[in-house]
Amino acid sequence: MKAIDRSVFYDSDTPLGDVVLSSRVRLARNITGYPFVNRAAPDQLLEVMHRVQSSQLGSVFEHGTRWVNLQSSDVSDRGMLFERNLISKPFSEGTHPRCVALSADGCASIMVNEEDHLRAQIYAGGFKLYALVESMTQLDRSLERSLEFAFHPRFGYLTACPTNLGTGIRMSVMLHLPALRILDELEKMRRAAKELKLAVRGLHGEGSDAHAELFQISNQITLGRSEEDLLEEFAGVIVPRFVEYERQARQRMLETDALETTDRAHRALGVLRSARILTLEAAFKYLSRLRVGVALGIIDSVAMSTVNRLLLEVQPAHLARIRSIPASAADDDRAARATHVRATLDA
């Protein structure tokens, strides 16, 4: 898989881009006539794969589709897909017949035989939920022309887990919340999210650590509301509200501790520009601080899109690909990471 360097991935020139790093919409569907993945035999799973591979994917994939068979793909391909949140950890590490379709621009994927027969995902940098939902609707309609989806008049689109029933749509945004963490308000944020029926996860999904103060929030309810209502609530009300919490916290940080905040951002840039050793944790820490500096206008020599890009490129599989070496050899290559960051910031 060639290193895809599309600016759409790192695009931050969207409203709310100072807090919203990226947006994602996911759709879950199953085909009638087959058991769900957890109960299907390998030959049934192969048939499902064949059916999906023969179907029309529509305009989201119009510039080309690459199919990756997870049973035979190498570790580095899987690693990059995982780091871009295009495949999940269980999918990456599973052993049953499964594959993934990737769009040419690397922003859309359809996992076949993850928890459901189909898990389609479309991703964009910045805050782009409305456009993503529209693209997903087109993809759904397109797939439906060649596949018959399991549907129940009362429960809607059927999924292996009842938490995905009904619309089968999950929207999420990756939020950068450093001020909320510094002001110790993350607990408040989690409680608010819980009350609003949102799931809060770290950078790489369920159970992951909160690297770089990045948090994914997504809707938990998929049934009983129309797709438009879910979108309007999440994108129109909830996300702006969380962005506001963080923005206000950042302002408070600036007001009460202007010197400290400024120093922290510049110091981070200093380390990133000169360190010869950078662990992943350290890279995340300093990139997060740099990002606040850029967002607040404290640092103007670095573009937001550069920071967003580095947040991805410091991760093991991406780093290995940039250096053209196998992912396993780059597991903790602190020197290479530091070199790449310096080179990127100097450019």
Partner: protein
């Protein structure tokens, strides 16, 4: 980077930040130690809510089921015991076979919702229980109007009218669709 369990050398899969008296400290546990410490793990990483927990609660709160309701899905062989263990349904038909047990589970997982009001596949148009859907939409419309969510009410109104009246004329008169101000 793989964090190891706080108590052994296995990779940690449960991570929690515990805040006590303003001090945050992190807990990292493998699946076994997590269970030993009383964490209830989701049956699948895809579920934010533990279906297994909900099912167990549903089973416990129901009166002892008579023999005849213990069922196996004829299409995939899934039983209620399997369902509780795995937290996932076995096939689309399971939803029909276990409908009563599931509607409670679904309501709890979906914040009280139990009826789909969104999009449906073109082929399934005839399956939709139009009357039930229209009643449901009308109820939501009334709620939206009374809580002054006029944009949402307008969308519901559009959906109601798009459901059409062809073949349902006898139902039209029985529905009380409120008008928007």
């Amino acid at each position: 980077m793989t964090r190891l369990c706080d108590h052994c050398d296995q990779p940690a899969t449960v991570h929690e930040t515990v805040i006590k008296t303003g001090v945050a400290h992190e807990v990292h546990l493998c699946a076994d130690h997590a269970r030993a410490h009383g964490y209830v793990l989701p049956a699948t990483t895809g579920a934010a809510v533990s279906i297994t927990q909900i099912l167990q609660a549903a089973q416990q709160s129901q009166p002892r089921a008579p023999e005849r309701t213990i069922r196996t899905c004829p299409s995939c062989g899934m039983t209620i015991a399997n369902l509780q263990a795995v937290g996932l349904l076995g096939c689309p038909d399971c939803y029909k076979v276990f409908e009563e047990l599931l509607s409670g589970v679904i309501q709890r997982a979906q914040d009280g919702a139990s009826i789909h009001v969104g999009r449906h596949p073109a082929q399934a148009a005839t399956l939709i229980d139009r009357a039930a859907l229209r009643n449901r939409l009308a109820k939501e419309l009334r709620e939206a109007v009374s809580s002054e969510e006029y944009e949402r009410a307008a969308r519901l109104r559009d959906r109601l009218s798009s459901l059409g009246t062809a073949g349902d004329d006898d139902l039209g008169a029985t529905l009380d669709t409120p008008t928007l101000p």
